[in-house]
Amino acid sequence: MAVKTNKVNPLLSRTMAALTPVLATLAALGVFALILMALGANPIEAYGALVEGAVGSPNAIADTLVKATPLLLIGLGICIAFRGGVTNIGGEGQLVVGAIAATLLGLKFPETPGYVIIPLALLLGFLAGAVWGGIPGILKAYFNVNEILSTIMMNQIAVQGMNFLLRGPMIDPVQLQAASRIPQTARLARAFDLPRLVPTRLHLGVLLAVIAAVLVFIFLWRTTIGYRIRAVGLNADAAKYAGINVKRYMVLSLLLSGAFGGLAGAVQVYGVTHRMFTDGSAAGFTGSAGFNGIVAALFGQLHPIGTIPAAILFGALLVGANKLQRVVQVPSALVTALNGLVVVFVVSSEIWRRHQAKQNQNVEIEESSTPEKEVTGIV
């Protein structure tokens, strides 16, 4: 299995690179089958349900794609950040902030036509996410504050802000009257719903996310700014000697990364939920998309285009797992465990593959390979 023919056939090594996560996923599913059997469930029946739930009907496919959309958008942001040599673990917070900004706009102007509000809301979500990602960026570049920790803290602050707004200023007036006080906003005007593409739950946001992926690819590999971001990520010292303002580009990568998180939030509200709600934690609204998006991006080799199938795969797992749980009657937390299992297998296989590649001295550093210089120091 070792990539011995690297120099002779770069295509093979690239195929290997793309195939490893797939094989790892299969291995994870194999282990999961054993767990299912241990619990007394029939794995074939279970996986049948998983596949049927994920891609068994046009509706199922639509659900999978809808679920993949926030993962893809977050993942795009992660591609930018990691390529720029900074770590953004603040996807959850950025998503929440973008969703809040977009929702506020929609609630404030219910009478305005949708073609005005929708683009504005998406833009506002994008900007709000940019601010939320930009703050850790500035802290990192100019004040030397570790961005891993600060983005985590920003997540918590965003969630607390959301809880506050949804229980107070932004709460649905109906909830206030009914005295049930469920922390959620009123439903946005129906005119603001993102247009449906076909008569399923598939909304325009799905298409937007794919277009965004292409744009991010062009941005990172075909523009000067993108080139500089990657240069900073590959070797900050060299970039500095080449006259690149490293600090500015650090801020920019985190800012853009956050912006895509914010966009994901806006798309989620206008395309899927049409209102905001909270159960007190971030995952109640985001469904952990902020974290799963990171995994999708890593799965997609930190390449915007590669992140598309990765996000779809994880979307399919999430949607299919629900069906699996209903059909074979396993505890719902098992579904989360399946997700975790896939992540661990994929990441460890990636580690194994790169280790193999490193052992083989002939590895040529390809444009699209993952940055060699990993994020290291904690300060």
Binding site: T87, I89, L139, Y142, F143, N144, V145, N146, I148, L149, S150, I152, M153, M154, Q156, I157, Q160, G161, N163, F164, R167, G168, S281, F291, I294, V295, L298, P331, A333, L334, T336, A337, N339, G340, V343, V344, V347, I351, W352, R354, H355, K358, E374, V375, T376, G377, I378, V379
Partner: protein
């Protein structure tokens, strides 16, 4: 008098509440001093809290509960160490994935054990010492976990800064090449202290479920691991300063609760957000260049103590893998 007693009670509960955090900070300080980052603290503590609680409940033996939790912590630390030392992978990525895994796994494995009463650590006042006014009720009328935490602070400090192996440990974190040239097995040292630190973090997790925040529920200690990581930085990689940081953190949380009762018109959420904002501020003060400028702007005689007080610097080779070959 009554109010004084009340205050004393609050303070002693702060000491109790902070002790698991102190243990986690000690553990991570040891690991990071050896040059390795274990970012998985949040997930490790969750899984360890869950394991410790279930083992304690099933065996009705607290010691076994803590032991199991320590093993969980060591196991996760071992993965981080192996991944970064042997496979030369990003410690941050491995740690982050383990964080997610620990969170998910604890929710899954512990789902049948939520919200039930289990065994817990009994209060154990130390005779004579607990009758000392003020200090007695604060530090000597607690339970064994608290004593253990404070003993570990002293022990860790003494070990790191006053013993030969401690010097070796720090050497490995600062200048691994130099340590290696002097015959220190750099990576073996890193493995060992990753395990020691991970074990302490595991015990910290169980200290929550068996002592400070009794029982188990999904996401029982979520967030506290990240707080511990921030406190390690605030503590300048010294266990004593770290312990002070953990106590201060506990103090602010208690203060927030009091303030919230005093000002009910302000949303509870504002107070919930305080610790996180505070942590960012703390990181800002301890690591930013602004602080250096501020210090230089102060009178000359103040600079040295101020710098000692405000500035911290990381072990030079923190997070940098070392190849012995």
């Amino acid at each position: 008098m009554n109010e004084f007693d009340q205050l004393l009670k609050t303070l002693s509960s702060i000491v109790l509440q902070s002790s698991p955090l102190i243990l986690a900070v000690c553990g991570e300080t040891i690991t990071e001093r050896a040059g390795l980052i274990n970012l998985s603290l949040d997930g490790t503590m969750l899984l360890a809290a869950m394991t410790g609680f279930i083992v304690g409940l099933k065996t009705n033996n607290l010691m076994l509960g803590f032991l199991a939790a320590a093993i969980v912590g060591m196991f996760f630390a071992l993965i981080v160490a192996f991944g970064s030392i042997r496979l030369k992978q990003s410690q941050v990525a491995i740690g982050f994935v383990l964080t997610l895994l620990g969170d998910d796994l604890s929710a899954f494995l512990g789902q049948n054990f939520t919200r039930i009463r289990g065994p817990y650590v009994m209060k154990l006042g130390i005779p004579i010492l607990k009758d000392i006014p003020i200090l007695g009720p604060l530090f000597f009328d607690q339970d064994i976990v608290v004593y253990f935490a404070f003993i570990m602070v002293g022990l860790t400090w003494w070990f790191l800064f006053r013993t030969q192996p401690g010097l070796k440990l720090r050497g490995v974190g600062e200048r691994p090449e130099a340590a290696f040239a002097r015959g220190v097995k750099v990576n073996r040292v890193r493995y060992i202290y990753a395990l020691v630190g991970g074990g302490l973090v595991g015990i910290a997790g169980a200290a929550y479920s068996l002592d400070v925040k009794l029982g188990w529920s999904e996401g029982h200690t979520r967030g506290l691991g990240w707080i511990a990581l921030a406190i390690v930085i605030f503590g300048g990689w010294s266990p004593i300063r770290g312990a002070v940081g953990a106590l201060l953190f506990g103090g602010t949380k208690a203060l927030a609760t009091v303030l919230q009762r005093t000002f009910p018109q302000i949303s509870v959420v504002a107070f919930n957000a305080i610790p996180w904002v505070l942590m960012i501020a703390v990181l800002l003060v301890s690591t930013s260049d602004l602080t250096e400028r501020f210090i230089n702007w102060m009178p000359k005689t103040w600079r040295r103590p101020l710098r000692r007080f405000l500035r911290v610097s990381a072990p030079t080779s923190l997070g940098v893998p070392f190849g012995e070959d």
